[in-house]
């Protein structure tokens, strides 16, 4: 490839009189080269111009939100996450949940605010929170034309519980289900080993149940949810085409039991590269896009397009493991927490698309226990003792600690979370002032997941994106303070652990909320967890396309119907 090119004495006698053909050829080549250069220059100029004219980033809570509008006929939307199967049983990422909300249902469902509502079960009841009776909706049609039976539902539940058949979904089914029985023509009874007052959320499509036809599941085998066999459900849309490398196409299911005033067809295109997705959106190839990076909202909201942000209830915070020195010392933990400029991170890194976390479960998540009032929940978590940024306090804490002259430690963050990386660097920068060296490292997401709570990291990020409306979904893990492996901090606090476990046996929402508040306060006082921010997600819509009913759980509902033409 690197052949030497000696200077040739023969050059002088070569082609002293170029013929006509060569001249034309040369002209074509030079013209082509000039054109390429001109186009390249124009492109550079164009790109610069578009950046220069970008509006300042202003977080918009309203975006394209609207209360009126007519249904869209066909919706084409881009998503940053490709799914490799349509079956959430196998792959339970948030992109899978989001798609499945259109074609499969559970016994229960949620509305956009996260309130649990009837789906395939018309009603349910329990007297002791252990024996749950679900009365099934009658005459529900599946996408393969068959009528849903009680056996189909029982089979779907048992499949979801099976770690072999459902490696992704089975984690939502802890070992407390005793048996699932048919107790009537249209009734099933689920008996639990321990009382679980939040059990109805577990059999929803935002947690652990996606009902399908038993016959279809058995005949499809390992091809269930694949491009060749697709999937059968009862949802408002039926999958017509799936290519894991490119897209999912759906059409309105005519025999849907409920109402669906959404588009006739929906197509979700997988475009993982942010810049390509932006170009496809700007060009009008797609009508809308999920996963708008909050750092580049300005580019997404040009020419009448809108970016709509909504809370995704995600929790971002630091976890301290007391089993790793010097983090056994509360002064060390507090020094780091004081050095965290949360306001600065939300303003500077997230451009306002996030909220400073004052607790662990977000107000939107806890709203399930405050009559769906996010504001009331926000008030409750406003003062749980989370530390505010103060370098002076950080200095004083480190001086009192076992490491008064500072120390060195490592903080890793997963790929695909650049904002967390920037926040880590900001923390490293302020820790320099108190003599602590923080070595920030980006590692693959998969490695990061495997290292969560491995007992080797003194300080680590916790990134938790709750899918279910269970108000204490995050703290039910983080505050399960039963020691090694029970929570990511390997925290041991018998009282907190017992209180957290007790929540499942209670029925009064305010009592449950109070326990979460008390135990969270203990965790923050001991500085086991240092909350940083609650995240927001953003969706972009083209000019004239409005969004109806967007709220924190809208992607667990028939979200396609929320896209409307605005007059």
């Amino acid at each position: 490839m690197t052949h030497p090119t000696p200077i040739s004495p023969q050059t002088a006698i070569r082609s002293a009189q170029p013929n006509r053909l060569a001249t034309i050829g040369r002209r074509i080549v030079t013209t082509a080269i000039a054109a390429v250069m001109a186009v390249a220059l124009a492109a550079c100029g164009g790109a610069n111009a578009s950046i220069a004219t970008g509006q300042p980033t202003v977080p918009s809570e309203t975006g394209a939100k609207t209360s009126t509008g007519t249904p869209v006929k066909d919706l084409k939307i881009a998503s940053a996450s490709a799914v490799s199967t349509l079956s959430v049983n196998q792959e339970a990422g948030s992109a899978n949940y989001q798609l499945a909300a259109l074609y499969q249902e559970g016994l229960t469902g949620v509305d956009a605010t996260g309130k649990v509502i009837p789906a395939l079960a018309e009603k349910w009841s329990s007297t002791d929170n252990k024996t749950w009776v679900f009365d099934l909706r009658q005459g529900v049609k599946l996408h393969d034309g068959s009528t849903l039976t009680t056996d189909d539902v029982i089979d779907s539940i048992n499949t979801a519980r099976d770690a072999t058949l459902s490696p992704g979904l089975s984690v939502y089914w802890p070992d407390y289900v005793d048996k699932v029985e048919k107790t009537g023509d249209a009734q099933i009874t689920i008996t639990l080993k321990t009382p679980q007052s939040e059990f109805p959320t577990q059999v929803s499509n935002v947690a652990g149940l996606f009902v399908t036809s038993k016959a279809f599941r058995e005949s499809a085998g390992s091809d269930y949810g694949s491009a060749s066999k697709l999937i059968v459900g009862t949802g408002p849309y039926k999958v017509t085409e799936f290519d894991p490398s490119s897209h999912v196409s759906l059409e309105k299911f005519k025999d849907y039991w409920g109402t669906n005033d959404g588009p006739d067809t929906v197509r979700v295109d997988f475009i993982t590269e942010d810049s390509t997705r932006l170009l496809a959106f700007q060009n009008g190839t797609v009508d809308a896009s999920f996963n708008v990076p909050v750092t580049s909202v300005a580019q997404w909201s040009q020419n009448g397009s809108n970016v709509t942000a909504y809370s995704d209830r995600s929790y971002y915070g630091l976890t301290f493991d007391q089993g790793v020195k010097p983090f056994d010392d509360i002064h060390v933990r507090k020094a780091i927490s004081y050095a965290l400029d949360k306001e600065g991170i939300v303003k500077g890194v997230l451009k306002g698309y996030g909220e400073v976390a004052t607790g662990i479960d977000s107000p939107e998540q806890l709203a399930g226990w405050t009559n769906n009032s996010k504001d009331e929940a926000a008030k409750k978590v406003a003062d749980l003792g989370a530390l505010s940024y103060s370098i002076d306090q950080a200095k004083s804490e480190i001086a009192q600690s076992s490491q008064p002259s500072g120390f060195s430690t490592t903080l890793t963050y997963p790929t695909g979370y650049p904002a967390v990386g920037q926040a880590s660097l900001a923390l490293a920068d302020s820790l320099k002032q108190i003599g602590v060296t923080l070595d920030v490292k980006e590692i693959p997401l998969e490695q990061w997941l495997s290292e969560v709570g491995n007992g080797k990291q003194g300080v680590a990020w916790m990134i938790y994106n709750p899918t279910t409306p269970q108000p204490n979904e995050v703290t039910s893990w983080l505050l399960a303070a039963g020691g090694a492996g029970a929570n990511p901090a390997n925290w041991t606090d018998a009282d907190v652990a017992a209180q957290t476990d007790k929540i499942g046996t209670l029925t009064d929402p305010s009592e449950k909320l109070q326990i979460v508040l008390d135990t969270t306060k203990t965790a923050l006082e001991q500085d086991i967890y240092s909350p940083v921010y609650w995240g927001k997600a953003a969706v972009a819509t083209k000019k004239g396309l409005g969004l109806k009913g967007v709220d924190t759980f809208w992607l667990g509902t028939n979200w396609a119907a929320d896209f409307v033409e605005q007059q």
């Binding site: 050829g25 040369r26 490696p167 984690v171 491009a227 190839t285 997401l445 997941l449 495997s450 893990w477």
Partner: protein
């Protein structure tokens, strides 16, 4: 990879530019009596044995490297959620991740020998099915890119060599250097912006819905992006090889005797073809690695993106299968290129059949190879 293929080539003994003269002679003696069919069978047999050995070693290395990476597929499947150790253990047991490395490897090898690539940990689908859906995309992309790179690179390389040292040469060399150093994701985005968004000539992403022709049309811009880096190599190789011929004594002699320009050019091209063809084979390796970024930029889900996600997910069966397929493609391509070399270079045929008169190779004698031709006629 390069080291490996060059070793194979030496053993095959079918290259004209083989520097080991004594070895070449001894091979000639043994091969001289055999019929062409037997020689071809020997060539293929050796190639096949080498390929199997290479694949075996490669599979061991990939398996070992993946095993050493610090991640747990069971944890990835479950996500950052409250998962009981029993649940994780059940998932690990299902995919035999709890077994020792050697047993996992033997299990995989046993399946492979029965023609089964296994089941993907990530999707639970047969690996052969996942690859089958995507292989044609990457193959079409790579072939189109190679074709574009050769169609544009060769004429430019020839022009540069013929205008050696003049402005055309400098401009083409500059373009080649730019192409070689421009990262393909940046080139891809630039081309997307200019040709798709601004000018609307090409689709932006994906494969479209209009069948094969539409899909190929969608693959054109990704192929051009991939070809930009490749074309630079083609220009540099063809320019360098042809420049050697332009500077050769026979060119000067032919010119001075008034031989037609095109006849001289054809002779030069024929002599320069060997390094060009051999290097084109090596370009396939570059192509295969380049597809990952281009496929991501243009949202074209081929083998490159599948390999990428499978590596990060530690989806051992899928990674192993794709690695094996890509290695096989590279080996087969190198073998084809070596065989082509025999067809292109008459000296090779002469070496294998010493009875052929040297008069049948009129233009293949260059200054550097004078001693070689004497040896062949001796």
């Amino acid at each position: 990879m390069t080291g490996n293929t060059s070793n194979l080539r030496d053993e095959g003994g079918l290259r004209a530019s083989d520097p080991g003269r004594p070895r070449a002679r001894s091979r000639r003696r043994t091969a001289g009596n055999a019929s062409p069919w037997i020689r071809a069978a020997q060539f293929l047999g050796k190639r096949l044995a080498n390929l199997i050995l290479l694949l075996f070693v490669l599979s061991l290395i990939t398996f070992g490297l993946l095993y050493m990476t610090n991640s747990d597929p069971a944890r990835t499947l479950a996500g950052a959620k409250k998962v009981s150790p029993e649940q994780l253990a059940a998932i690990r047991a299902q995919y035999h991740l709890d077994e020792p490395l050697w047993r996992q490897y033997l299990r995989w090898l046993g399946n492979l020998l029965h023609g089964d690539f296994g089941t993907s940990i990530r999707t639970q689908l047969p690996v052969s099915q996942m690859i089958g859906q995507r292989a044609w995309i990457t193959l079409a992309l790579a072939l189109m890119a190679l074709a574009i790179a050769l169609l544009i690179g060769l004429p430019l390389g020839i022009l540069a060599a013929r205008r050696h040292g003049r402005w055309q040469d400098r401009l083409i060399t500059a373009l080649a250097v730019t192409g070689l150093s421009a990262p393909s994701f940046a080139v891809g985005l630039l081309l997307l912006y200019v040709l798709s968004v601004r000018l609307g000539w090409f689709p932006i992403y994906g494969l479209g819905d209009g069948g094969l022709i539409d899909a190929l049309w969608h693959l054109l811009l990704p192929a051009i992006t991939l070809a930009v880096g490749l074309f630079a190599s083609v220009v540099k190789i063809s320019r360098a090889s042809l420049a050697d011929q332009v500077d050769a004594d026979y060119t000067l002699f032919a010119r001075s005797r008034g031989v037609a320009r095109w006849t001289v050019l054809l002779a030069q091209l024929r002599n320069a073809a060997l390094p060009i063809v051999t290097s084109s084979g090596l370009l396939i390796a570059t192509l295969v690695s380049g597809t990952v970024i281009v496929e991501t930029t243009f949202a074209v889900g081929g083998l490159g993106t599948l390999l990428q996600t499978s590596v990060t997910f530690k989806d051992i069966p899928t990674v192993q299968a794709i690695t094996m397929i890509m290695a096989t493609i590279i080996c087969v391509a190198t073998a084809i290129v070596d065989a082509l070399a025999v067809l292109i270079d008459p000296r090779l045929r002469v070496r294998q059949r010493p009875t052929v008169a040297p008069a049948t190779i009129p233009v293949a004698v260059d200054a550097n190879d004078a001693s070689d031709s004497k040896e062949a006629t001796a």
